[in-house]
Amino acid sequence: MDNQSISPRQFMFLVILFTVGSSILIVPSPLAIQAKQDAWISISISVLAGLLLTLFYNQVAKQMQNKTFVQATIYAFGNWVGRFLLVFYLSFLFILGALVLRNIGDFMTTEIIPQTPLQYTHILFLLVVIWGAFLGLEVLGRSAEMFMPWVVLFLLLFIFALLSEVNIENLQPYLGDGFTPVFSASTVVIGTPFLELVIFLMITPYVKDPKTKQRAWIIGVLVGGIILTMITLFCILVLGSDLTALNASPSYQVAQRINIADFLEGLEVVIGIIWMLTIFFKLAIIYYSVSIGVAQFLTMDDHRPLLLPLGMGMIVLSIIAYPDVAYFETFVSETWFPYALTHGLILPVIVWVGLMIRGMIERKKNNKKSNSQSS
């Protein structure tokens, strides 16, 4: 593949943007449905689980030794079994990409441009993403560095402008229904986005400096998790848990409440820029990983010719994925967690064990060779 590399800092920014992107829109309302006013507790639990997951992914990345996940799986399990496992991994990434594309499409059609058909929003958005994936990881990393200050600035604006709307009674009573709904709700956020972080196993080999990149990954997840927690907390503080549960994109509804001294209103589109930026980076990372993964799966020299054909498939899948809103809600809150758990935890565990066994076999072989040479 092409010899591109990004610095640990750029990697950290990509992790933050990936964690926040699209989850910021879809996470608060299923949380509020299940955990009500305690949604912020369950999201904090999920952030802890996400940090543990990241520690595990770092171990897998260490075992992979500068190979991407696709190359490492083929190395560990051989051509046929490895490719069989990878079909599932790559289809998971591809479906994830289509669903993220659908998230931004649904958001745009319900909130900003209701007259435009879904297909055109998807095509236009994906063209930009393809252009980003065409230019490669270095460009994505540098643009993440450029846009990060804007995201932070708008988030601070969001939080400070809403401080006057906060109603602390919306959080009470704490743990009114006990711990059970809080824990069951936290699986939603573990599925989206923390188990999706498995995608960075395709990116880590391109990050310079092996020592700091582990820390960069963990700090990225932590910062992204804190941002998600803050957004969910403000949704509940401002709207209350009932309204948060009812809205399709509560974080955008919250932004509509911004009213600075009865003078500055209608700032929600400015805040919506954060959503678009973060989703762009999330989709670009997914798209880049999918195309690189498919190229390495087929042992092609270059991933770029695959970008446009894969895009055609992704647009069709994103259109047919959710027939209606009810389907989307049950899929996100019920099916996605086991699906993501299979591909985000069980599959990496299998590959991790396979890599360790493979490493032991190789070492034995080398020992034998050196023994036979010496004798």
Binding site: L298, T299, D301, M312, L317
Partner: protein
Amino acid sequence: MNMWYAFAVIFIAIAIFALQYPFLNKNGKRKDIWSFSIILLFFTSISVLQTLDVSLPNPLDYIEDFYKLILG
């Protein structure tokens, strides 16, 4: 009307092929050209079916059924 969308999709697919073929040919790897063409043909046919309003199977349905089966 849908016919025209289908033609547009086929036209775009031909344009993609014409755009990428020189690059692939320069590398001179036969297998790359084949895998690229097969992927392009597969997704083009799916897109054409979608524009003609053929109801395509939704992969998410299978995923949902599978996990319902396992988790009960």
